[in-house]
Amino acid sequence: MKSEAKARPAPRVRGRRLGAFVFLSPGLTYLLVLLLVPLALVLSYTVFQRGRFGGVVHEFTAENFTRLIDPLYLGVLGGSLRTAALTTLIALLVGYPTAYLIAQLPSRWKTIALVAIVLPFWTNFIIRVYAWIMLLSGPGLVNSALGKLGLGPYELLYNQGTIVTGLLYSYLPLMVLPLYSAVERLDPQLREASANLGASAFTTFRKVTLPLTVPGVLTGCLFVFVPSFGNFVIPEMLGGSKSTMVGNLIRDQFLKARDWPFGSALALALIAVLVALLVVQAWAARRA
């Protein structure tokens, strides 16, 4: 009893459904099995007890969360926040002018300057961190240069400053790229108009350029903050034993102490901080 008009769209709709199934199901199955199920497991472990020999005993406890607010662990969490925030701030202060200048270069140089920003990023992460051990360690280049000036030697490794340097070195490109695309997209006529109306270069920057690039600033900050916050390799290699960040704690709970429930609770705290930041970023980007 179907009318002609109703029958016609049917194959298209069926094709669409079939297409959605054929194309989406393999990838979504992969994501379900290797992302969502694992995350759900980690989440569920936060309320269970650790087994005597590692592993998880399925008995409820709130202990993992009460341990989180122990000043010792809160201190580590706060310290990681501070280190990541400091890294992000410096990356922004150095990255903004760099991105701004790159965007003004003639197009040939622009490409070269951009490739040169990303190039170090494509070499092995551990080796890039190792390079700083070479530079900063006791007999390293910086100390021998200082020695020629009659200074030092200083202990340049194993403090918060070294960790920030390492994080900055690893993630600065992630700040410059979004900033560059934000500045690049600006209409130069807006700045010309501002200058013609008598604004100084600084006023133009403050009133025109900066507000229009806020989304790029937020993206860059997020790109630098997220990997800095949960990092455990850089604090371990450049920070020494005293400087533990939340990433080191999580790693140790999983691979050394084998306290998976508490490790999961720490990971949940890490995710909570990042989700909070994402929400703030989305809110600020919408207002910008």
């Binding site: 980690v42 990255g95 490739v115 990433g247």
Partner: protein, 259 residues
């Protein structure tokens, strides 16, 4: 527009900061002395020692196996996912889900996978690392391919459908050929990311023979050795060549597209 000369200070500082450590590594890799810190003249001996190092050779082979395997999985699944997301659904949730492995901190992915593998009692090894690498690589492939799809002209696909072709035929005959540059770019990205990935491999390799980044990590922890400088110089050369070649290829691809 006038601009302040002061801007050049952070600009050049950035480049010095990025390249000074690398330059020191490369220079020191040609050192003839035993010390990793004082340069005593030119020599290639550390390259020789590097070539003779069994652990590094095995690590390199393992890294290549994992990268090839995970790139293959990620390219197929990521491409299908990108087409599905761009052409067959409007769900923002699925979009976000597909990107999630690229956005989540690697440490979170790593512990999730470790917990999951242990729950299903999988013996860890190179294949568990391969499956793990494919997870985040897939997200990057999907993102790269999607960018091309959103910019692409859909009239050919519509014509194909109007002429009665099903979604699979349309994909094979029309979409896939159009997408090839994007898929190649995504696959290259997936391969490079896997070569360098450390945290997830560190958690999901178990007691199996490690990949190269893990070998380097354990060598560095035992102290500074000039052998690593030589390895660093070679890896730098490889990745610099790859990036510049990739840059050239996209430029050639773009100029062809404009013709």
């Amino acid at each position: 527009m006038r601009r302040s000369k002061l801007l050049y200070v952070p600009f050049w500082a950035t480049y010095v900061f990025l390249y000074l450590p690398i330059a020191v590594l490369v220079v020191m890799s040609f050192n003839s002395g035993e010390s990793a810190y004082t340069y005593e003249g030119f020599s290639l001996k550390w390259y020789g020692e590097l070539a003779a190092d069994e652990r590094i050779r095995t690590g390199l082979v393992n890294t290549l196996i994992v990268a090839a395997g995970s790139t293959a999985i990620a390219t197929v699944l990521g491409t299908l996912l990108a087409v599905g997301l761009a052409r067959h659904t409007r769900s923002k949730t699925l979009d976000a889900l597909a990107l999630m492995p690229a956005v989540l901190p690697d440490l979170v992915l790593a512990i999730g996978l470790l917990v999951f593998y242990s729950a299903i009692q999988l013996t860890l090894g190179l294949y568990s690392v391969t499956l793990a690498h494919a997870l985040f690589s897939m997200a990057f492939v999907a993102a790269v391919v999607r960018t091309r799809l959103t910019g692409a002209d859909t009239s050919l696909e519509e014509a194909s459908r109007d002429l009665g072709a099903g979604p699979v035929v349309t994909f094979m005959k029309i979409t896939l050929p159009q997408l090839t540059p994007g898929i190649v770019a995504g696959a290259l990205l997936a391969f490079t990311l896997s070569l360098d990935e450390f945290v997830i491999a560190f958690f999901t390799i178990g007691n199996a023979e490690p990949t190269l980044p893990i070998v380097i990590y354990s060598m560095v922890r035992f102290g500074v050795t000039p052998k690593i400088n030589a390895l660093a110089a070679i890896l730098l050369l490889v990745s610099f060549t790859a990036v510049i070649a990739g840059q050239r290829m996209t430029r050639i691809g773009e100029s062809r597209a404009q013709d």
